[in-house]
Symmetry: C2
Subunit: 340 residues, 2 copies
DNA sequence: CTGAAAGCGCTTACAG
DNA sequence: CTGAAAGCGCTTACAG
């Protein structure tokens, strides 16, 4: 059986298609009685608006998009993304907006997806994550004039709205805390060096270490996976001048690092203190529970979604600096044991 | 500036819109030279197909949908969903299909979303999860004749394709293993009793316990959250006839249960053995690492996505039984200590 | 308040 | 191989 259209409703109601459209959309131009009759018929015959036809007439898609350039399988293990997405969803679902996700292999493909989505009016706007140090997506998006909100600090780019939090301050907080405990040799297991927030953290790390005379402030780059984090930890704990404390750029690597410490016979925090960035259940459930840089990631995602909805609505929207992550000390950090 | 359309291309190329359409879509009906010229012009002026217009002419949306009826925030903590989605994405992204997610509050809203998506041709098909014991979505979906693949065992429903795995066998495997270790008092912390797979597991649990004379085979229902899992564990470990082994219906609850055991001063596996269902990094990184019912969830999602694509393509598609989860013994299970 | 009509950007028979 | 035209299901000025 064919899907009913407004023409069917119009015929049954004995009015024009235009009148039906006005009635259905709550627009002025029809009498209350006609409107009621039209609505009743629409319901009765199971009419649903045809989004394609609406879109062709310029209506919004009520969908926002997010392109993720990561191996698809990483989504399942890295809590950050899911928490971010859950926060975005919470905000969107309250307004019956949908979220369209697409995973791509590289940057060219990502830009191509934006181009296509916008060309096809498939999304009303996009959320952009994982800013690179030098990121061609920024200008591509600006060229498209696709409503965009950047999640993460953007620097000075005219016209683009971002929701971000300070990545440097938490690093400083953690290092100062460890230094106060007596640590003089702190290493860091960092994320992808190409990412902008990694660069910010690395710089902050080196600067605060220099200021506090904590040397050599080594950062080992990784791809964020637990495997890479384990490898980096093994390397650090095997080195002749073993650090007494390690900062990790995410929670998965910190937990993996903890397992490596145990495996190598080091006690935590007796032999080495560990600090995670991003605080998921993971951190709280291992033994000892991990000291972590904690922030409300779903809220972060929610802010970004709300901002994007505002941009789409056409308002003049300012960037938002969310609260920075802050240190939650737990059992994985303590004063270093005196060396034998 | 206005977005270019095939009319613009037609004008520049000096051919009709129809010819442009054929050229762009690789259809016969234009000469090779015309096709090349059209393609070149399209590229030059930055033409993108208008999806709405295509959809209005009956083209597919190249998008599949998934409605999740869970609190949005749970997405971030429950590894199962993200792993499933990552597997789905891996399959889809290879074919440039997008995934649209929508989180809803209740079943009525979920069915409404299906109705709307299908009415609007926003998706070519949907993946349905978390089957209930008595699930009105099944008939609703069948009525819509929306291409659907059910993730999870469906029972005998004509016409619907499902991708599922045996939920009973792993329960039997785990209980037999624990029984062989000498456990005579095994409890279970189950999921939402309303879910079909929970019901299947509960029944299998009671049956195998009866067969092996392992009593009383108590299942405590939960909502799958770590908090509920902790509460259930506290109750079990406080009871006068404390079980010597506990099965959990997901990994988050098992890890939370482990923390409770430690908090109450019980040793694992000395005082109580623990078994998780679903095996994420979580299970492997806690101490002791958890014995778990393991399965490849991303692969499961991938199978479901591929099946759905086949259904959409119109082929006659059979349901797929994926391999069942199997027990991976780790440090959290051992023979029970003799009671004092 | 209502009707008739054009237009959104494509696809696809139907003639030449 | 190509052109002219109808149609997909809406929305929205424009007349009455």
């Amino acid at each position: 059986m064919k899907r009913p259209t407004i023409a069917d409703i119009a015929q049954r109601a004995g009015v024009s298609k235009g009148a039906v459209s006005y009635a259905l959309n709550g627009q002025p131009g029809v009498s209350e009685s006609t409107r009621r009759r039209v609505l009743a018929i629409a319901k009765e015959i199971g009419w649903n608006p045809n989004g394609a036809a609406r879109a062709l007439s310029g209506a919004p898609s009520d969908t926002i998009g997010m392109v993720l350039r990561r191996p698809a399988r990483i989504l399942g293990v890295e809590p950050f993304f899911m928490e971010l997405i859950s926060g975005v969803e919470a905000e969107l679902s309250a307004r019956s907006y949908a979220l369209t996700l697409q995973v791509v292999a590289d940057q060219a493909a990502e830009i191509e997806v934006y181009r296509r989505w916008w060309g096809e009016r498939r999304v009303d706007g996009v959320l952009v994550c994982d800013l690179r140090v030098d990121d061609p997506r920024i200008t591509a998006l600006a060229d498209l004039s696709l409503p965009t909100v950047v999640v993460g600090s953007l620097g000075e780019v005219a016209g683009l709205v971002s929701v971000w939090s300070d990545d440097a301050a938490p690093v400083v907080e953690a290092v100062e805390y460890l230094n106060a405990l007596g640590h003089r040799h702190i290493a860091r297991v960092g994320g992808l060096p190409d990412l902008r927030h990694t660069a910010v953290r690395t710089e902050a790390f080196e600067e605060v270490c220099r200021r506090l005379n904590v040397e050599p402030a080594l950062t080992i780059p990784t791809d964020y996976t637990g495997e890479d984090g384990a490898r980096a930890t093994r390397r650090l704990l095997s080195s002749p001048r073993r650090p007494t404390a390690i900062l990790y750029d995410n929670d998965v690597m910190a937990v993996a690092g903890l397992a490596v410490a145990h495996e190598m016979g080091f006690s935590v925090p007796g032999d080495v203190s560990l600090v995670a960035w991003d605080d998921s259940v993971l951190c709280q459930l291992v033994h000892p529970p991990l000291t972590a840089m904690s922030r409300d990631i779903p809220a972060y995602g929610g802010h970004a979604a709300r901002r994007l909805l505002d941009v789409i609505a056409g308002g003049s929207v300012a960037s938002l600096q969310d609260v920075a992550a802050h240190l939650i000390p737990r059992g994985s950090t303590a004063a270093p044991a005196p060396r034998a």
